[in-house]
Amino acid sequence: MATQYGKTSRSYAMNWFLHRITGTFLVFLLITHFWVQHYDAQTASVAAQVLSSEQIEAGALPDYPEAAKEAVRARYGPDAEVTPYDVVMLRLADPVYAVLWKGFNILFLIFALHHGFYGLNNILTDYIRNPIGRVLAQTLSWTLALVLLIVGLYSIIVAGWGYMPAS
Amino acid sequence: MIFSHDVVIVGAGGSGLMAALYAKEGGADVAVISKLHPLRSHTGAAQGGIGAALGNEEEDHWLWHAFDTVKGSDYLGDQDAIEIMCQDAPRTIIELEHYGVPFSRNKEGKIAQRRFGGHTRNFGEAPVRRTCHAADRTGHAILHTLYDQCVKNQVRFYDEFQALDLIMTPEGVCCGVVAYELLTGEIHVFHAKMVCLATGGYGRVYKTTSNAHASTGDGMAIVLRSGLPLEDMEFVQFHPTGLYRLGILVTEGARGEGGILINDRGERFMERYAPTVKDLAPRDLVSRAIYQEIREGRGINGKDYVYLDLRHVGREVIETKLPEIATFSRTYLGIDPVKEPIPVAPTCHYAMGGIPTNYDGQVERAGRGSIVPGLYAVGECACVSVHGANRLGSNSLVDLVVFGRRAGIHMAETLRKEGRKKEPLPDNPDRRVREMLEDILSRTQGEPVAVVRADLQQTMMDNVSVFRTEETLNTALEDLKQIRERAKRVVIRDKSKRFNTELMDAVELGFLVDLAEVITRSALNRTESRGAHSREDYPKRDDENWLKHTLIYREGEGEYRFDYKPVTITRFQPQERKY
């Protein structure tokens, strides 16, 4: 009555547990991200006030916090226009906030990659049942995750370097 | 194909699995063949519990249990076997517990016990808490645990193989069985040193029954056809509380937990029939009382049922102690037992009679000591006899495990001691089965199986159920004569090899006809009333002439011969049976 089922393998308990943990953290990280990036007028990379579609068609530009305008003008001259990109870069260039925000983004990156790729791998092993196919698919997917991690880390670390206010 | 094993057990309910487990533990090479997957066996439908004088809830003794069983059997039970069963019951329950059976527990963490019909303290004083249970699915808990244990011990199972014949040598030694494999339609021979039948009861002889569709008494019919006797076939238990019209069992545990029976006037009528134990009287008594109420016009709305009232028991007890039956009445009748009484009527439930065996499960050919070498029977298909003329509730599960275990041990020990060789197979051992199946498959003109079977079940229900008279029994015999002829000509539509359940339906119909005839003839023969056998033309128990077991032999088609066997009495002399 030997059975081909229930073959033991290495334990997957911790992978599953991390998936729960990263999932829980991602909820808070996402909320913080959305708040900081899209809603809070003091830090938002978008305009402090929302423009109507007519205003946008008419070519109006959003109004940014005074501090952002000053920083951009100081760098690019008095006529420079402020873009959302500038605001983000400024935040990541700030000597105090940069550490905090880069740390935050690195955590966000790692958790999102683990969470997403663990899920992707489950789907892959659900549908690919030949052992060689599984190894191949998993190697490919985790390699992709590694590449994305490197690209992501690089982007976060170098972001804002050129934006240091020239005092 | 020919399969070869030391021990072949036919049937995988409680007794079959218990025998398998112990024969295997004793070192034998064991195979279990079963027409259903083992977990589908009817043991799983046992609800209320398993009786044993553990004394977890209050003082209790195995001797009290033995007395109740003897009295419940209307003094027809063999007291040596009953003593063995009741003495062995507590140890066996503990063993089941050690196997992992998930018994309900009391506050101290011990196995919980409850009251059941006919189980009393101090030789009949008052009801006692003796019935161990796993909520109201005790049989299910035991069946699953035993199967788990068999899997652990690597018992070889042949699932969905239906045994159709015994293989006997000319000297009368059993050396195997012929079985039909449902999946392939192949006929196989199982060559064995020992065969143990554990094929259960024949409830499907009757129209209203708590038994499974599979309960067609195959093993008993096969034994009868092999020229061996059946014992006490006139004793058929009708459980008092089957769901009205459906026959689905409502456990006696419902009354054990405080439920009462009421008639159309709202009267608790059992107080009149059994003043001491009332609703917890034995089943034969309660079933008769219900029919009496119905006959006298006190059925609910004048119809043929009464109410089982659980409303005062309360939601808490119903949900924790009786969840299954609450679900049944909600599902099938749309009735919530917390708020409404449940309509119930007696339903055919258990065969007290069966294949005569001694208390090690060895089949007897003609009275005490005349064993059939190599053949065992356990469980409901066997008649040890511990239940006599009427089985007490919660005594069937204990019968299964105690005598299943004993047979398993006895088979393994005999093999070890005697180092027995297999008897050579006779020529063409499967000839009878082949011819029978070919005959059924070759017919093109005739009635469908279901029509004939329905007529059989109807006449048995009308004429051979709780109350019997010479007249009704003769009517049944007349009907059965015609039904036998019709059954020989039934036609099936499915002629395929693969999973042909219709072919097996036709074979089982033949078994049912044989058993119905044997039940009716035995009932006609016994001119007294005892336990579940209630002859209105002979209303008194007659110990002078009938304190004996009936043995019935099939001499040819429609021809039978009776013989008798004395009842073993050890401690308890027959007395008038009052509750």
Binding site: T3, Y5, G6, K7, T8, S9, S11, Y12, A13, M14, N15, F17, N122, T125, D126, Y127 | L36, H37, L39, R40, S41, H42, G44, A45, I94, E97, H98, G100, P102, F103, S104, R105, N106, E108, G109, I111, H144, T145, D148, L183, A212, H213, L246, I248, E324, F328, T331, Y332, P448, V449, A450, V451, R493, S496, R498, F499, N500, T501, E502, D505
Partner: protein, 238 residues
């Protein structure tokens, strides 16, 4: 009332492909779906094949797909399957398992998975003379799980099983839970490596199809989650 009964028929002996057959029958709304099938088998077409035994939801023989859901035929009534006269009830075998004939599936894989989880009480300490004590609270932990009748409705309703037939599936895992959480069991060390494996517990994505399919209304997902937590704790302790 008159209803149409549409059944997916297949006999590999004679048919290349499964096909649907429709029967018109007169039934009582209080009849079970099993009675409808029996009526057809007994009075219309004897070759219709399905498993059945106890007829009231304890033996687990007749799990099948009825009106698109996995259910026990004997435990569901006609009145809950049709709205009115002339409506259709459909019967199919449980999905994903190989079909033997009509509504009968091959359950060997299902039971192999059950055997894989060591479904028996494992003890090391010698048994006491009397019963092993278990408090009502400890019993309550496994009470629900012991209701399982191994009908297969859950496992064959599980999308993870549909995608990966090697996944142990809810029924086998529930059995593992039933023994692992039995206060008398000392076999977690042996049993957990089987469930904490690639084809084990972690393919349960708490989709809850098992809960919906279970005819005994067992809260399967809840118990599997408890088993997951237990497996994590054991892994952390190693």
């Amino acid at each position: 009332m008159n209803v149409k009964v549409k059944i997916k028929r297949f006999n590999p002996e004679t048919d290349a492909e499964p096909h649907w057959e429709t029967y018109e029958v007169d039934v009582d709304p209080m009849d079970s779906a099993l009675s409808v099938l029996l009526h057809i088998k007994w009075h219309i077409d004897g070759s219709l094949t399905f498993r059945k035994s106890c007829g009231h939801g304890v033996c687990g023989s007749d799990a099948m797909k009825i009106n698109g859901e996995n259910r026990l035929a004997c435990s569901v009534l006609v009145r809950d399957l049709v709205k009115g006269e002339g409506d259709t009830i459909t019967f199919e075998p449980l999905p994903t398992a190989p079909v033997i004939k009509d509504l009968v599936i091959d359950q060997s894989r299902f039971f192999e998975k059950y055997r894989a989880v060591k479904p028996w009480l494992i003890t090391r300490t010698p048994p006491p003379e009397r019963e092993r004590l278990q408090s009502p609270e400890e019993f309550a932990l496994i009470d629900d799980a012991t209701k399982c009748i191994m009908c297969g409705a859950c496992t064959h309703a599980c999308p993870s099983t549909w995608a990966d037939p090697d996944y142990l599936g809810p029924a086998a895992l529930l059995k593992a839970y039933r023994y692992t959480f039995d206060s008398r069991d000392e076999g977690a060390e042996e049993r957990l490596p089987v469930v904490d494996s690639r084809e084990g517990l972690w393919k349960c994505y708490t989709i809850f199809n098992c809960n919906e399919a279970c005819p005994k209304e067992i809260d399967i997902s809840r118990w599997l989650s408890a088993l997951k937590r237990r497996a994590v704790m054991e892994a952390a302790a190693r």
